[in-house]
């Protein structure tokens, strides 16, 4: 491990991607993630990589599709409105079973929205986003260190399962600086016999494609892809448990909302409320098992989100609606203060004794 340096979350993503062997970056400027592009523009030419400022988000994601088809590690990054534009390409990448990394440093929406942090693309990220039956592996960092670590993890998972991965961060995570240690990694090259790098006259041609005019064949392909998703759901769910051992109440939050919630949980504990925090690190696959266990253990749940309440639906689903689930939220670029979350925890405890 190298020494700890202070880095912006956006820069940590970029440097971690390079460490993970990503040599191809395509993007389009948008606040609050532009540091990723700026970092790549500086670094890529020096290490024999590609930095290309595309003419649009649509073009950028399709350039990613090209490189992913050739089997090289590749990424793009954007923020909410730009990620909406990328959805076409993301659907194609998923439909062609290609590994790639898409970073969304979320800002407030809908529409042009604002530029302040948000988590209101949860549905888009975890429930599809583009057209058709598919999932992305969605990772939600809650520190600059995780911005780096989960970037590397995302590339690994994407390669392993041939599923596009999304890093779902927010403006705070992108802009803040914290100490970060970047690992020195051996190049993670795995065999990609499906890639299009020319037949060299040695094999039948490979085709990167998501078109199946025969519905039976398309159904079969989708069934097979969902078998793979089952394995991912079984094996790859990640979460952090905080003060959950004896918790009677459970706060669920990811990313910046989890950081704020931690303060509130500590404050509530000081007031004698037995509350803990579950922080999903993978949003898809959602950490279902721990949620089901918590439904047995706890009296009530509080979803803390920077949206009008999106993850709360998954909490209700995976706790089987056995216990009340309340929402504590801000939206439009606002962030709940620890005091607001504390107030919601106190109310939750009072109403569910």
């Amino acid at each position: 491990m190298a020494e700890k340096v202070l880095m912006k979350g956006n820069e940590a993503i970029a440097e971690a991607a390079i460490k993970a062997g990503c040599r191809h970056y395509f993007g389009y400027p948008i606040t609050p993630q532009t540091e990723i592009a700026a970092y790549m523009a500086k670094r890529m030419p020096k290490i024999g990589g590609t930095f290309l400022q595309a003419e649009s988000e649509v073009a950028a994601i399709n350039m990613v599709y090209g490189v992913a088809g050739a089997g090289f590690r590749v990424m793009t990054s954007s923020s909410s409105p730009g990620v909406s534009l990328k959805q076409e390409g993301i659907s194609y990448i998923a439909g062609a079973d290609l590994p790639a990394l898409i970073v969304n440093v979320q800002r407030g929406g809908p529409g042009l929205g604002g530029i302040q942090p948000s988590q209101s693309d949860y549905f888009q990220a975890t429930k599809g986003g583009g057209h058709g039956d598919y999932h992305l592996i969605v990772l939600a960092p809650a520190s600059v260190q995780e911005m780096a670590d989960l970037t590397i993890k995302a590339f690994d998972l994407a390669d392993q399962y041939r599923v596009p991965a999304m890093l779902l961060a927010d403006g705070t995570m992108g802009q803040m600086m914290e100490p970060v240690e970047l690992p020195d990694l051996p190049p993670a090259e795995i065999e990609k016999p499906w890639a299009v790098r020319g037949t060299k006259g040695e094999r039948k041609h490979n085709i990167i494609n998501s078109l199946y005019l025969d519905p039976e064949l398309l159904e079969k392909t989708n069934f097979e892809r969902f078998e793979k998703y089952k394995v991912i759901e079984e094996k790859e769910a990640m979460y952090e448990s905080f003060m959950m051992e004896d918790a009677e109440y459970c706060v669920v939050a990811f990313g910046i909302a989890a950081r704020v919630s931690k303060n509130a949980v500590v404050a509530a504990r000081k007031k004698g409320i037995k509350v803990g925090l579950i922080r999903p690190i993978t949003l898809w696959p959602f950490p279902k098992k721990v949620m089901a266990e918590a439904a047995e253990q706890c009296k009530a749940f509080l979803s803390v989100e920077l949206s009008m309440g999106q993850m709360i639906e998954d909490i209700k689903l995976h706790t089987g609606c056995k216990k009340p689930v309340e929402l504590c939220c801000r939206t439009g670029g606002m962030i709940p203060a620890p005091e607001q979350v504390l107030g919601s925890i106190e109310k939750l405890a009072k109403e569910n004794q």
Binding site: R23, H24, F26, T50, L52, A54, E55, S56, V58, A59, A60, N62, M63, V64, Y65, G66, V67, A68, G69, A70, F72, V74, E88, G89, Y92, A96, V196, R197, G198, T199, K200, G201, E202, H205, N206, I207, I208, N209, S210, L211
Partner: protein, 248 residues
């Protein structure tokens, strides 16, 4: 003596194209170019959305099927990560000049070292004959049933003329495949467009004026005459840009 052979770079899959459609000729010309230059093994082709959507089944080289209009972006990705490989796109007029206009213009202005085969038959074929960006003024299509009215639908896009105004691209030529002489010229242009890429010269686009007897509502031979009578006067054939030739 062998007078004619199917190019090796074409698979045995039977074409799905309508009788009299010129896509078959253009596929053959591309495959012959790959054969003659000996590059089939290092070529990756990008198929469009449109009639040529299943081109990936017809070429023996590695192929990628792109989203509608995005082939130049996909090709850019492929070329940037594999500069030694040969990357081409094969696109129709709706794909290249309507939904994919931005990708086309920007790949050209970056002088992306790729080869684009642009088939202009002035109509959306696959979806059943709607007005294309290149449909002629007055041309009757499913979505211009009274003829293309330029006051509401605007004028056709002259892709070769437009792209040749850019500083970026290396080579732009418009050819046709409606008679033997034109087919021979088209072959030369396509070969040159691939050679340019191998020599690192940059963005090379060959616009092929083509026919669509089915959606034009004509016999194949009448459609070829219609190219001479209507298409070529609006879309004059010739070299629109050839930077290296100028320099030499």
């Amino acid at each position: 003596m062998v007078v004619f052979e199917k190019p090796k770079a074409l698979t045995d899959a039977p074409f799905h194209y309508c009788p009299g459609c010129t896509h078959g000729i253009i596929h053959r010309l591309v495959a012959e170019a790959l054969d003659e230059l000996g590059i089939e093994g290092k070529t990756v082709g990008v198929a469009p959305v449109g009639c040529a959507v299943m081109a990936y089944n017809y070429f023996t080289c590695d192929m990628v099927e792109a989203a509608h209009g995005r082939a130049p972006a996909v090709a850019t990705g492929l070329k940037r990560c594999m500069p030694e490989n040969v990357i081409f796109t094969y696109q129709g007029d709706g794909d290249l000049a309507s939904i994919g206009m931005a990708e086309t213009v920007h790949a050209a202005t970056r002088n992306e070292n790729i080869t684009i085969i642009f088939v202009n038959n002035a109509i959306y074929g696959m979806t059943g004959g709607q007005m294309a960006p290149t449909s002629l003024p007055g041309q009757v299509t499913q979505t211009s049933p009274y003829g293309r009215d330029v006051t509401t639908a605007g004028y056709p896009v002259k892709v070769s003329e437009m792209l040749s105004t850019l500083d970026g691209p290396e080579y732009i030529e418009r050819v046709a495949v409606n008679n033997v002489k034109n087919v021979r010229n088209a072959k030369k242009a396509i070969l040159k467009a691939f050679k340019n890429q191998i020599e690192g010269k940059g963005f090379s686009l060959v616009e092929v004026v083509s026919s669509c007897p089915t959606n034009w509502g004509m016999t194949p031979s009448k459609a070829l005459e219609w190219i001479d009578e209507n298409m070529i006067p609006y879309y004059p054939l010739g070299v629109y840009k050839d930077r290296s030739a100028k320099e030499e």
